[in-house]
Each structure stands twice: as structure tokens, then as C-alpha cells.
């Protein structure tokens, strides 16, 4: 099936034990009850037994066991026909037997080749099928008592739970290292241990200029100003560096920088991603929520809790006041709205779009929080990880009350006639309900007026046809004319078809109808006026809206396993809950009692996720933080901590950090402090041949690797050196415009066009071209890590892009404003602004040479252009 059979084999020897060796069904709490009953507990009359043994069993053995027994090479359809229990339970397509109407049993349908065709190659002879009909009518007597080898039993769960990432992290003992002088904190011990094993050690600390630039970009995504560099150099306190870190962590720009990282993890975008890629106008409130949450160091467990189930944390439905706290909490659930949502298309494809959105949401949520990749289990048991298809749909069940494909809320009200839609009006209970009722009312009115409008046009279109025919301008038959003259409600189906055909064949311009029929004009105007009024009333009743998720129905729908992942083939009901690999008495998942207006399912999930004993949540997050600080995670696959993911390069360090994270009260800023104060973070980037040989790709962190800035940081840094950065925070997304050459830029007439990149509209199909060139991702699901490519198109943009040229110009203006008279001072300042350092004597010389013969303003613009297009500007050392 896949291109890598070898990997499958490795895992199967590790995890899967042969079917024969297992018999008992592992029972689970909340296990779904099987409904069919073939009289298993009653004694079987002898003649029934004889009938089974002579007519049924031989056929099953000969024609069915090959694919449907414990001995089958590859079990088909999850169906066992070699035991009474197997027949009772049925397979992926559902129960086999229907005891109320035995002749409608799936088993018999399949044998008759009605829908399913079994056996698939050749139908059984009619008399044999008749035997099976007879057998089912007798109640399917069956003496075979052996148990079902459930697919759960194919996995050795005890063994599977021993996998490193499924075991709870415990604080490891601190290792002993030789180079104590290099140790700033515990992190360094773990790093040095590995380095010393290879006979190498950490680099010395980077110099202060390098360090301040590194920390600035890292924490706030902006370069330090020359004054800030000077102040840091002059700070003689022993903890000058700690003060710097502290100052940046409390800068409101910190949330913009790190919020952008989390928005990647969430797969944040402001459009629905389907066909026309319509905008989701209120999504930005979630973006602002993330920035604010990071700025105030909201504990990570709370952060997850709000994003998974903010709507279930408060009884917002009955609260007369929409407090700030409630609003924030509701806004957080935007996390679960991020994946493409094409459910607003009013066509026959709605059901699959709903499933697409639901499944993408579940998958991104689990990757983001616990680094578990579930996609494979949509269609079949996971081939690599111990996750069954049933587990997948159990988990889906937790999201069904909010995202029920059979009871769906549209995502927008683009036509202004849908209400409710998936927005919560920003108001307390009474006001909100009144407004909602009003919106619903006017929505219905608009819908009905639109329909009136169409009927009116049709009526006069028909009259027009008749008039044309009477005047001999159209060759209509008498029959056709007779039909057209009938009022709509008196026409037959055939009459309607004929008149519709005539209308589509002979179009009439509305203008012509207006001039010919004063009555049409009058009535059409009347309807238009009413529509305009209704729209106005709709808008008047409307409130600011929150892009949120909440349970649409308090009575949870059953989660059914989708056979082969096909939503057209719902199979058996599965219990709702977490994947069984996580069954752990110390961190139990508890399905709540049915609530009044919300199921509490997602809240239960979130509480379980953020339990202190959860093996993955803390590890996954500290690994993300590590990745953004160092360019690569301790686990290189931040969204996949499963069997196919990378193994940690420093497993003990990861666990130590995870435990530390939980004990710090899940404080993200505490983790930053810890990591930034380590020697490994502060070391220089110099490299020697020993290190290249013994730690070739720097997995052991024997040195700092210079990293290219991400797209957003490049743009922000350019604005910053040009002293053009508009530092305003929050608010609706800044729109885009398309230039003649096809590229998308930030709308040039927008007052916020110079604001930070995190506020620019993220429309999936039209990313800002400059950012796209520098690898800003196309957001289809989520973005666990950024790539950093190196292509000539980037050089083209650095040479020719109007934005770069503009920044260079303003950078030059800034130089002249500060140093109007002295060329040398201007050169020095230019280097200090762009690189946070002074030019070397050589550089100063060659820079002076640059202006020999031409020291015009445009030569200075070119000079500045060169600085911001160079590698030293684009890379953080």
C-alpha cells in the first residue's frame, strides 16, 4: 500500500501479536452495546443444530472463512464469521442480522448480491441462499462459542504504552559533566553530557552585540535600535542580560512574535479555503486573543482549556452580562474554527465538506496539543501508531455535539438570510436572544421577499412571452400560450417545465419588462424597497460577533465509524472518548453526565489533556518552544511524537523541561527565561573542523547556527530600520490589493499598511507575495515548522520589490535626518541600524568608496538597499 513496506513490518513485529494467540475481548468503559441477539443464551434445539451443522457451517468454512475468520490472512470488513459472537457483532458495515425483519438482514442482502455482494466472485446457488434465509428466520442458531479477536487485541497495549512518549515524563537526575564552568543552568548539563561524549564542548558566549540582536529577534521579532544596543553594552550590572530578557518578555511586541508561532500551530487563516475562498470577517478576534494570552503569560493549561472548550467554561448562554472573561473564553474557541470550512456552499456536496471540516479540526487539534497524527486512522486502524480506527471515531465523537454533519450550522451568513450561523452575538442573554430573534425574523423576511421577487419576474416574463407571441414576434404554439396564461399555481408539472424552457430560451431584459408593464415596475419597486428596509433592520439588530464554537445540540449524537473513511458508509456506533492507548487510571478521561445546554465533552477532553499526568501535552509544548528558540526541536517532528516521529535528541532534557513546565504552573515565560539563560542558548556561532566532524548538522548544539528570519520578521525588520513601523496593536485584518504584475501587496491606501505582518490578512489563496517568496506557508491545515528556502526569486524580490525599495528610501531619509552633514557618521549609523554593529575599518573604507563620484540621495538609497538585502540583515546569528 505505502511506499515503505519495511517500516510496516518493523512496527508489526513490535506491536502486533498474531490473531490466534488472543481470544478475550478487552472490554472498555462506555463500550457500545451490540443490539442484535441471536438467542445466544438459550439452548439450541437439536434440529436447529443439525440444520446449522449440515447446511450452514460447511458453507461458511468453504466460502467465507478465507476473508472473515481469525485465520484470514487479511481480515476483510472487520467481520468474523467463525463465531457466534462475530456474527452477532457484525462488521464495519454494521450488524449482520435484523431480528425484527429477518429477511432484511444485511447477511441475506449480501448473499443475494443486492447492495453488498458476498461472496464477491460468485453468488451462492439459490438453494444455499434459501438455507441461510431459513437459518436467519430460525434465529440464527449457532453453537460456536469462541470469542472475537477484537482489533484492539491485535495490539499489545502494555507493550505499546511503554513507548517513550506514552510514558509520563519524570524529572531525570542531573547528569555529571566535566566542563562545569560552562554551565549556567540545568539545561546545559544535559547538552554538555552529549557533547562531552563526543569529545567536544559548547562555544564561548556570543558577544553582547550578537546577543542583543539574537534575543530581540527571538522574543519580539524586531531588531534593537542603536540606542538599545548602546544601553545594553553600557549596562555593567552582572545580570544585565537577565534584565534585557525580562524587558523583552514584558514588551507587548512579545505576544505579536510568539502569537504568530502559535497561529502557525493552530493553522490560523481568515478565509474559508473553499472555491471562492470567502473571508471569515471576525477571525481576527481569535488572533488578538492569542497575542493577549501570550502577553499576559496565561498558563498553558488554561490556554488550551479555553481554546478547546472556552464555551463550556462559563454558562454564557444564561449570563445577562457578557463579561470580558466570558468573551475572551468564547473567542478562544476560534482555535477550533481555523481549518478550511466549505460548508457554506449550498449544494449537494455539503455533507462531505462538513466531514472534511470536522475531521481536519480534530486532527489539527490533536497534532497541536499532543503531537498525535491521526489522519491514517480515518480509514483504517493506524498502521504505525497504536490508534485504531475505532479510537479515531471515538475522539471525533467528542466534537460531534458542536460539529454534527447531520445538524450543521452554516459558517457565514453571506446571503444575509441565514440565522443562526456560527457566530455568537456579542451581548448578554436577553439582548442577544432578542437580537437573534430579530435577525432570524428579518432573515426570513429577506428570503421570502427574494422569492417574491423571482415569482414576480417570472409572472411578467410569461406575460411578455404571450405579448411577443400575439404580436407575431415569437413563434409560440397555442398550447404554449395557453400554459403561459395560466396562473403559476394552476400549472401542471409539465406546464411548469414548458414555461421554464420558454423563459430560458427567450430571455427578457428587466428594463424592457419595466417599460412595458407599469404594474411590474410598481410591484418590483415595492419589493425592492421592502428588501432594502429589511436589510436595514437586519443590520440594525446585528451586533459585533464572536467567531466561536459551541455545542449545537446538548444531546450528543452517536459517533459511528465510517467504513473505509467514507461518510456515505456509516458503520457501527463506537463509544465516545479518547484513544485507548491513553487509558490510564492516574490520568483518567471522564465523560461528563449529560448537561443541560452543553455536553461538556470538549471540556472533559481539555481537562484530560491538561492533567498533570498527561504524558504528551507538556512535552509537546516545551519542544515547540525549544524549536522556535533553536531552529529545531529536541524532537524534530513537533506535530508527531508517535512511532513514526523523530526520537528526541536529548530525551532527558525534554522530560526535565516538561516537568519543570508543569511545576512552573505551565508558565511559558518561565520556560523562556530558563532557556534563554542557558549557556547553550547564549553561545557563539563560530565553528571549527572538530565540531563539523563530530556534530555535523549541529544536532547536539555544539554551536549556534545562524538562522534566516521568517517572512514576517523580514518585513517587520525592514519597516523597523526604515523607522516606518506602525506599532499599533490588534483589530481587523489589514486588507490586500493586487498589482498589475499579479502580486498581492498590503493595500496601499490602508491606514494600517505599515503595521506588523501578524495583522495582515491571511487569505489562503492570496498570500502577500513578498511574504510568500520568503516561505510564509500556504495554510491548508496547520504549520508545525517553517521551511527556509533559498531561491533566486528571493533575490529578485530583494532587488526589485517596491516594498524593499521604499524601505531603503526611508532608511536613507532616516540617516539624513540624524546625521545631515557627516558622511562617515551616516555610514556608521547605517551599519548600526541594519546590523547592530559598527563597520570595520575595511567596511568603512569600501563604503566611502561606494559614494566616490556620486553621493546623491539616490546613491544613499542604493546603499541602504544593499544593507537590507544582504545576508547579515536576513540572518540572525
Amino acid at each position: 500500500m505505502t511506499g515503505k513496506p519495511i517500516t510496516v513490518c518493523c512496527i508489526s513485529t513490535l506491536l502486533l501479536v498474531s490473531l490466534q494467540s488472543v481470544c478475550a475481548d478487552e472490554s472498555r468503559p462506555n463500550s457500545a452495546k451490540v443490539s442484535a441477539d441471536n438467542g445466544s443464551n438459550r439452548p439450541i434445539p437439536k434440529q436447529h443444530l443439525d440444520f446449522f451443522e449440515s447446511r450452514i457451517r460447511p458453507v461458511l468454512v468453504k466460502r467465507c472463512y478465507e476473508c472473515h475468520s481469525a485465520d484470514a490472512d487479511e481480515l476483510q470488513g472487520g467481520l468474523f464469521l467463525d463465531s457466534r459472537a462475530g456474527i452477532t457483532q457484525g462488521g464495519e458495515s454494521g450488524p449482520l442480522l435484523d431480528m425484527d425483519t429477518p429477511e432484511a438482514s444485511l447477511l441475506l442482502q449480501a448473499l443475494r448480491h443486492e447492495d453488498l455482494e458476498m461472496p464477491p466472485d460468485r453468488k451462492l446457488p439459490e438453494p444455499v441462499i434459501a438455507d441461510f434465509e431459513q437459518w436467519v428466520k430460525l434465529g440464527a442458531p449457532d453453537p460456536r462459542t469462541k470469542g472475537i479477536p477484537s482489533s484492539a487485541n491485535r495490539i499489545d497495549w502494555q507493550q505499546a504504552r511503554k513507548f517513550w512518549s506514552f510514558r509520563r515524563p519524570v524529572r531525570p537526575p542531573l547528569p555529571f559533566v566535566e566542563g562545569r564552568h560552562q554551565v549556567s543552568n540545568a539545561i546545559d548539563l544535559f547538552i554538555l553530557k552529549e557533547l562531552e561524549a563526543k569529545g567536544i564542548t559548547l562555544n564561548p558566549m556570543a558577544d553582547r552585540r550578537t546577543l542583543i540582536r539574537r534575543v530581540f529577534f527571538d522574543l519580539i521579532g524586531l531588531p534593537p535600535s542603536p540606542a538599545e544596543v548602546e544601553a545594553f553594552l553600557a549596562d555593567s550590572r552582572p545580570d544585565a542580560y537577565e534584565h534585557l530578557v525580562e524587558r523583552l518578555l514584558s514588551s507587548p511586541h512579545y505576544g505579536e512574535r510568539w502569537g504568530r508561532h502559535w497561529l502557525d500551530v493552530a493553522g490560523y487563516a481568515e478565509s474559508n479555503g473553499i472555491i471562492a475562498d470567502g473571508l471569515t470577517p471576525h477571525a481576527w478576534r481569535y488572533r488578538d486573543y492569542v497575542i493577549r494570552a501570550l502577553n499576559k503569560d496565561k498558563p498553558y493549561d488554561r490556554f488550551l482549556l479555553e481554546q478547546f472548550a472556552g464555551d463550556e467554561l462559563f454558562d454564557w448562554r444564561n449570563s445577562e452580562v457578557l463579561t470580558e472573561e466570558i468573551e475572551e473564553s468564547l473567542t478562544a474557541t476560534g482555535f477550533l474554527r481555523c481549518t478550511p470550512d466549505g460548508t457554506d456552499t449550498q449544494d449537494i456536496f455539503q455533507l462531505e465538506k462538513r466531514w472534511d471540516h470536522l475531521q481536519a479540526t480534530v486532527e489539527v487539534a490533536m497534532k497541536a496539543s499532543v503531537g498525535l497524527v491521526l489522519n491514517c486512522a480515518r480509514c483504517h486502524d493506524h498502521k504505525f501508531d497504536p490508534v485504531l480506527q475505532e479510537d479515531y471515531y471515538s475522539l471525533v465523537g467528542l466534537f460531534l455535539p458542536a460539529y454534527d454533519p447531520d445538524n450543521w450550522l452554516p459558517c457565514t451568513d453571506a446571503r444575509k438570510s441565514n440565522w443562526p450561523v456560527r457566530y455568537i452575538l456579542k451581548a448578554g442573554k436577553t439582548e442577544r436572544n432578542t437580537a437573534a430573534r430579530t435577525l432570524q425574523k428579518w432573515g426570513t423576511v429577506i428570503k421570502s421577499l427574494n422569492s417574491d421577487n423571482r415569482s414576480l419576474a417570472t409572472e411578467f416574463h410569461d406575460r411578455w412571452l404571450v405579448a411577443q407571441a400575439t404580436q407575431g414576434k415569437l413563434p409560440l404554439t397555442l398550447d404554449e400560450i395557453r400554459i403561459l396564461k395560466l396562473p403559476a399555481e394552476k400549472r401542471t408539472v409539465e406546464g411548469n417545465r414548458i414555461s421554464a424552457n420558454l423563459r430560458s430560451k427567450h430571455q427578457a431584459e428587466p428594463e424592457e419588462l419595466r417599460s412595458l408593464f407599469p404594474e411590474f415596475e410598481r410591484r418590483a419597486d415595492e419589493i425592492e424597497r421592502k428588501i432594502a428596509e429589511a436589510r436595514q433592520s437586519f443590520d440594525h439588530a446585528d451586533r459585533d460577533r464572536i467567531w466561536a464554537l459551541w455545542d449545537v445540540s446538548p444531546s450528543p449524537p452517536h459517533s459511528r465509524l465510517l467504513v473505509r473513511g467514507d461518510f456515505m458508509s456509516p458503520g457501527r456506533v463506537v463509544p465516545t472518548g479518547i484513544p485507548r492507548i491513553f487509558d490510564d487510571p492516574e490520568n483518567p478521561f471522564v465523560l461528563p453526565e449529560p448537561g443541560s445546554e452543553t455536553t461538556g465533552y470538549r471540556l472533559a477532553l481539555a481537562r484530560w489533556l491538561t492533567g498533570a499526568a498527561h504524558p504528551l501535552t507538556a512535552r509537546v509544548m516545551v519542544n515547540r518552544l525549544w524549536q522556535y528558540h533553536f531552529g529545531r526541536g529536541i524532537v524534530a517532528t513537533p506535530d508527531d511524537f508517535g512511532f513514526q516521529g523523530s526520537r528526541p535528541t536529548h530525551p532527558e532534557l525534554l522530560d526535565w523541561l516538561a516537568v519543570e513546565f508543569i511545576q512552573s504552573g505551565w508558565s511559558i515565560k518561565a520556560m523562556h527565561r530558563l532557556i534563554l539563560s542557558s549557556s547553550v542558548y547564549r553561545q557563539s556561532s563560530q565553528t571549527d573542523p572538530q565540531k563539523v566532524i563530530r556534530d555535523s548538522d549541529n544536532q547536539l548544539l555544539s554551536r549556534r547556527t545562524p538562522r534566516r528570519l521568517e517572512a514576517e520578521a523580514i518585513r517587520d525588520a525592514m519597516l523597523s530600520v526604515a523607522e516606518n513601523l506602525d506599532g499599533r496593536f490588534f483589530g481587523p485584518a489589514i486588507p490586500l490589493e493586487q498589482l498589475d504584475d499579479g502580486q498581492y501587496i498590503v493595500a496601499s491606501d490602508n491606514a494600517g499598511r505599515l503595521r506588523r505582518s501578524v495583522y495582515i490578512r491571511v487569505r489562503r489563496t492570496t498570500p502577500v507575495s513578498f511574504l510568500e517568496t520568503f516561505d510564509s506557508p500556504q495554510v491548508d491545515t496547520n504549520v508545525p515548522r517553517r521551511f527556509s528556502s533559498n531561491v533566486p526569486l528571493q533575490s529578485l524580490s530583494l532587488l526589485n520589490n517596491p516594498f524593499v525599495v521604499e524601505c531603503a528610501k526611508d532608511f536613507a531619509n532616516r540617516l539624513f535626518a540624524s546625521e545631515p552633514d557627516d558622511e562617515t557618521k551616516r555610514i556608521v549609523l547605517a551599519f548600526e541600524i541594519a546590523y547592530s554593529r559598527s563597520p570595520s575599518p575595511d567596511e568603512l573604507d569600501s563604503s566611502r568608496g561606494f559614494f566616490a563620484g556620486d553621493s546623491s540621495r539616490s546613491a544613499w538609497e542604493l546603499f541602504c538597499h544593499g544593507l537590507i538585502a544582504s545576508n547579515e540583515f536576513l540572518y540572525v546569528n
Partner: protein, 463 residues
Amino acid sequence: MPSNMNRREALLRCGGLGGIAMSWLMQQEALGSPVNQGVQSLQARQPMFAPQAENVILLFMGGGPSQVDLLDPKPAIKKYDGQDIPISIFQRGLSAKKKLMASPFRFSPQGKSGIELSELLPHTARVVDDLAVIRSAKTNRIDHDNAQFMFNSGRPVPGFPSMGSWISYALGTANQNLPAYVALAYGLPNCKQRIYSSGWLPPLYQGTQMKIDGVPVYDLKRPESITPVRQRKLLNFIHNLNENHRQQHPYQLEFQARMSNFELAARMQAEVMEQVDLSTEPTHIKKLYGVDLPQCDKYARYCLVARKLVESGVRFVHILRGDWDHHSNLTSRLEKSCASTDQPVAALLTDLKQRGLLEKTLVIWAGEFGRLPITEGKNGRDHSPHGFSLWMAGGGIKGGTVFGATDDFGYAAVEDVITPSDLHATTLHLLGLDYKALTFPFEGRDESLVGVNKARVLKDIVA
């Protein structure tokens, strides 16, 4: 991502296939290419085994061209015209009426091979002996964007790398002054730019959209404020700054690559403009394509640029359009779509052939699905993913072949059924790539273009 060592071990253990993949992987690593995710590059790379084609031109006919009016003649529809289709049809949202609609167009045998083509394709008829016509394609989604994702990436959802991206990743490109994967947007199909997305492959393997009028690639044009002399001065200055910087980081190879990219970029400014400049093409070539003919001028220019790009070493050219969605007025609209494409497409094959390029260029003509043999409205046909036609020609393709068949009414593929994944496997095979071995580590799996879908190389159409 498993470490390279694990990948090596795994590949060594899986025998024959592993052998190919292994040697290829080592070569990739030696080139510092994407496998190790450090420096990524578009340098040309050797395929895994001897290729039959080096480049691909994908003529994407988005919307769903009607197979029973173009490539798949069905006399039974004519015989039962206007009657209920006698076979069972499964499609959601279909009205109760299922009346067959005969094709308004005549079919007749063409060329030495005698393949029957519609009268709408007189020019294609002249090159029919170069084509392998596949009449048994089926796909798994019925709506445009999902089927387009399926056709281009093997998955019916966005977010996966397109075929062109996989091929650029595998083989790089011969001409570093031009993108590896060019998307020429005659018109955008329903799934828009995402049709040439690199998904989770590194973004440098994404298609570069190129226009053929005005500025073909954005940021290609030097701003007016910077004269050529000044731009040279700027380039020299950047070079000096970068050289200083590089000397402090002697082991950081990407700094070197980034420096040479500036020189490439400078050359691209000229070279890309040349690609879309048709003034140097001789009149008889322009005439061959139908340049200046009102019905097909624009598409003719796109096809001509496609030839120039392939001639200049671009690995994958994707001409996008999306106007084959003929729900109504099928007769006139199909005539129009065919008139705009037939001559340019045939000319492209003829022109490639006379330059000796056809033998190393694979040309694919296809939409994301086909249309039903029954009528929709008065004169239209609704989507059909169950059975449709496409053709392939050029590098490694056995010309004059018909492969597969639909049922008597052209509704469903019944014989030698192929899926988009089979098409992908075959395309990769012709380029000397094993579709199972060409993988990229994603979410812990070694993902491929085909993924978990079943796929096979269509040996019957391979020369």
C-alpha cells in the same frame, strides 16, 4: 522525520526497491538536496533509472471535458437518444430524469491507428497517432475543487504537494535561470493557485505562476528608479557585504548559494522576458499554433510559450484553464472550448516533434473528471467522476493506442479502469522515478505522491 541513518537502514533492508531508492537517496544527500532538509536546491538531479521523458507539459482542462462528445464515441447513446438510461446511475443530487443525450457531434476514425475522434478535434486528429487515448479514467470526487486536488496531488483535499512539485523535488531543473515548475494561468480552475501548491514539500518546489503578457513573474522588472548601471552597483555592493559575512561563517554553505542567487536573479530578469517574447518566433510557427486567429490566439500563445520553456530546460509546465464545465448550452460552448484549444494543442505536438523534443517531453491532456451521458437541463451534461477520457503523448508513450473503456453509454469506466494515482505512477515512471521510492518525510511517514492509494504503472501505453 526519521534520521537519515534510519532511512538508510530501512531502505537497505527492503531489497530491490530499496536498492534504487538507496542509491538515489545517497546521490541526493551528496548534492546537499532536500532529503537532509538543510540547503534545498533546484539543481538538476539524476533520476532513479533510465528515463523515457525529461520534461512534462500538463494541459489541464479544468471543469470536466465531456468524454462522450470528444474522445469516447458511444453509438448506443444515439440509438437510445432521449430515452431513460437503462443502467443504474449513482449520483447524489441528480434529478429523477435520466434521459440519454446523443452527442451532437460526429465521430470518425483518424490517422493510421484509426482512433475515433469527435469532429470538434480536426487538428488533434492529425496527430492522433502520437496519442495514447485513455477512456477509462475514474476519480473519487464529484465537485470541481476536490476532484482537481485529487487529479493534481492524489488526495481530494488541499494541502498535499502537486505532481509538478514532486517532480521538481525529485529532479530539480536544468536551467537555473528559470523556475523548475512553471504554471501558466490561461485561466484559474476552481481550486485556484492551490493547484500548483507544494503542500508540505518545501515551498521552493511550488509552481511559479507566470503570465505571458506584461511582467510574467512579479518582481522581475527593475524599478524605474534604479538604472541598469545602478543595479550593477547594487549587486556588487551586496556581493561585497555578503562575502565579508561569509568569511566569518565558512561552514555555512547556504550563504554561498544565496550569493550566487543574486547573479541568477540578475540573469533571470532578461531570460524570463525572452521566454514570453514571441516576436522572435518565425511566422510559420506562429501560424501553426494559430496565433492571431480570433478563436484561439490566446491559448496558442500559451502553448508556444510552453514549448519555449521546455526547450529552455524547464522541468514541468502546467497550463491551467477551467472552462470545460458545460452544464448548459453544451453544443455551442464545447465548440468554443475546442476551437480555442484544438489547433494550438496539435501544433504543440507537431512543433515539439519537429524539434526532437517530443521524444523527451511527456504531454498530458486531461480534466479532473468527465460528464454524464444523460442530459442536464436542455442541452447540458452534469459532472461524472465515474468514467472519463484523457490522453498522453510524447516521451515514452506508445502513440496510436487506445486504453480502457467505459460501458456502452460512456457512464462508468469498466475495462482497465485507471485512477489519478495510476496516472501519477506512470508519469513518474516515464521520468525514471519509482513512485514508491520517491518519498518525503512528513508527519512521521515517508509520504509519496500516491500515498496509500493503489497505483500501477500503465505498461500498456508505455513504449
